[in-house]
Amino acid sequence: MKMTAISINQLKKTYRSTVVVDQVSFDLHHGEALGLLGANGAGKSTMIKCMLGLVMTDQGTVKFSAQPPAYLPENPQLPLSLSAMDLIQFKCASLGMECSHAENTLNQLGLPPAKHHSLLRTYSKGMRQRAALAFALCGKPASILLDEPMSGLDALGRAEVLTLLKQRKQAGMACLMCSHIVPDMVQLCDRILIMAHGKACEEIVLSEHSMQQVALLEERLAYWQVEALPS
């Protein structure tokens, strides 16, 4: 039996009178990837921020088995006067860890060694996305929360990121990925939680990574967009 990495219970967040996350509960196990699928404004990003404590919750609990998860925000903004290596060395120093594998992670994500010490302002958008992912993954976190991790990446970049995430997942890392791009989620995730209007509407276990699954998820997403409308 797999150990629970993250446990969410009845999480709720309201902005004034608008319920953004409405009593969402789920468990995520080590070595498992869960996808949060939903249209824009479904409450996916807010829920991730609630889980990380960046946004205060109104109700509910968030439990982590080990240390809090790593985080890759949507369109990550990094201090542009620093290099990718500066950031990674800072993270290792803060956590009191060896950063000998940091170069390796940067290479795996397609960042050439010549760029490791260059200032982030000289990076392209895709390279900044890779640097942010390397920053999140360094220190070998037990779990990671990914908010639209493929945004800004070209086809090759997406493939590299997916390969790395699959490797980490096999090594026992729990992944929570939120996106509205179905094919990317199908490739990585074992389960998909469809969110609409702040509610967790349906959980779908993915048996195979096929185009039929993509079509099914898109159909269910469209269905819940209408069905979950607040009365």
């Binding site: 404590g53 240390q67 985080y71 990550p76 903004q77 990094l78 620093l82």
Partner: protein, 271 residues
Amino acid sequence: MIERSFSSLAWLTFKDLSGHRTYRLSLLAVLLIPWFLMVPASLFLIDMGKVLLDMLFTGLHGWLFAYIFFIATPMIARDIELGIANIFLTLPMRRTTYYGARFIGLLGGMIPLFTLYLLSSLLTIFWASHAWQGYIPNTLWLSGMEGMLLICLPYISLMGILFLIASRATGAAEISVFLVAVWILCWSIPPVLEALQHPDVLSKTSPWLVALLETVHQFLPDLTSSQISLRLAHELPLDIGQVLGYCAQHLSYTTLAWLTGAVLFIKRDLS
């Protein structure tokens, strides 16, 4: 763990600052400013020592203002507005650690600028005292050093106010507007209150306005440090009680602003 992430972020803040072109240009500017100030000061030959010191103090006010408004404010605003703070807070790092480390890092950024300005100013004074012997008092360098150290204190208070504003603000525009408002009030209220000492002015001003100005003044730090600058420029000794009171005012103001800001920052939502 907390100490480690605190010192790491404070150091990273300093490293980030030193990578900014504005900061590197400021390092060059503070070296040159005292030498440029020699030109207008030399026009007042009889009062040259007094004018030079006054100008050096004004120059110090100028670049400290520029540092807080054009280097520190954009950095802290960027952290909140663009979500850069989130990548540090999710290391994980306590919010107070982030808030304190950024504060110390940005204060630390003032040290190289101040050291260079002080050294350049002392060299200017020594050079001027040799070039215009008899017009520059021998102890001018000591008054200059004393004054410059004391003038830094109000800007530490202003940094505390910046962090207090940033703890609730949503972005650069909000932070800048409130900080400029505080800065203008700090510089404009003392001369108005001084004018109100005159019975004619006082009789023509409504009592509620006087009370309001006095109340607002109580909540703001003395950024001008005008009395201290004036005495030092005139080579008059400083009253130790006045200096201690001045230091205590700014240090306690900074501590209070920082603590209030930290409490507010802990409770806020970060986008």
